[in-house]
Symmetry: C2
Subunit: 247 residues, 2 copies
């Protein structure tokens, strides 16, 4: 019989292409897509959005947007996808615009990982980003279940920003979990190195996504997405939607 | 027309499950299996072994070993595999034993990755480990071709020791390559943190493989496998064998 005092496990999955290595069905999966899907999700819900419906394709986004009369939003390769109304910047969703509304959202990496976790029967799916870092950590500690920190990465390639966020979570929750996972140790080391100035860390380390977005003039977005705790919401996936949950 | 002054690219692939993301056919692939396959390969060749034949299965190891009258060696899950004569420890292959002999070797992760790189048409395959770190770096700089640092990992799970070695290579060769790869930056950060005492770093960060081997009483192996430049050989895969190459 397992000891009742055993702590739950925590694993970090640095790319969706590695998700099959983890026991998703016995875990809470935190979907991490720092630049910018999960930061925008936290922001829109914080600003009063009723729900966010994550979908895989632009075509589904348009179709479902019409069906439920919702805002259609999303990007491909970091830019507003053709046929959609809005993009993937948190600054597109102030309270004055988004309050009470539903967003249908499609993104390159984050929504894909969320649906993978869903298919693999995750016990619970939430989304994490620096803007809602503490909300995520508080929730994970409170729930006391096994956790997988799932980095959305960039087309399956590991990225610095999602790894940094996994490290930031570990920094806050490590005493409450049994962490036997080299990827978690790597993410944690990365965060310890970068935490004093995440933006400078990304710049200095030539992070590929930093360059991609900076080339589009999105420094303001990057700085916001790397700043902790501006939105104290916990986006929980339930009934096909992400909704804000009281923690 | 591409600039003739452009540097070759360098990518780090932190798990065999991510190898499909990289352009293997235009690159030299460095197979990295620090604990302990590639450390043992470098050591055996340094001590005068004629060649090492990497094979996937224990059955193939026994069969080919008989055919060519070679030493059969290998491990499964870190221990000598049933039916084989020797294991995966560098200390099993002193000059007095191995000189002039051929080893047929099968290991859990390293030989698998080598064969994956072969199937994907790698331009050249070499093996890297701390014992032959400088030999690898000198070779890569001299060749001036695109490079993929391929970490063998542990059953596809990213591990600290192979990532550390990738970081150690990057530390020596970075001026000669164009490195647009977050995994390389992560490996590099890890190595910068650990380089003063790699053994202590592994211990402190609770590296899973450190524990696995330490539980078998293999501290001496681990310390050796984390020490740079005791063997100045370059194992090159050619004609189905790894042979020592003058660099």
């Amino acid at each position: 019989m397992p000891s009742t005092s055993a702590k739950p496990s925590l694993y970090t999955c640095l790319s969706p292409a590695l998700l099959h290595l983890y026991d998703v069905s016995s875990s809470i999966v935190v979907i991490i897509d720092v630049l910018r899907a999960t930061s925008t999700i936290a922001t829109a819900l914080h600003n009063g959005a009723k729900a966010i419906v994550p979908v895989d394709s632009v075509a589904d986004c348009i179709r479902i947007g019409k069906q439920i009369d919702a805002i259609t939003a999303g990007e491909r390769d970091g830019q507003v996808a053709e046929g959609l109304q809005y993009g993937n910047s948190p600054f597109e969703y102030p309270e004055s615009f988004v309050k009470g509304k539903t967003l249908v959202l499609t993104t390159t990496n984050g929504t894909k990982l969320l649906h993978m976790a869903l298919e693999k029967g995750a016990q619970e799916i939430i989304t994490g980003s620096f803007p809602n870092l503490s909300a995520v950590c508080t929730h994970l500690i409170k729930r006391g279940k096994n956790v997988i920190l799932g980095c959305a990465a960039w087309k399956d390639r590991i990225n610095i920003e999602d790894s940094l966020f996994a490290g930031a979570v570990i920094d806050q929750v490590r005493d409450h979990f049994d962490i036997q996972c080299d990827s978690s140790q790597i993410a944690s080391t990365l965060f310890q190195n970068g935490k004093d100035d995440l933006y400078e860390f990304m710049k200095k380390h030539n992070a590929s996504h930093y360059h991609r977005l900076n080339n589009y003039g999105l420094e303001k977005d990057i700085r916001y997405c790397l700043s902790a705790d501006s939105t104290n919401v916990l986006p929980l996936y339930t009934g096909g939607k992400l909704v804000s949950t009281v923690i």
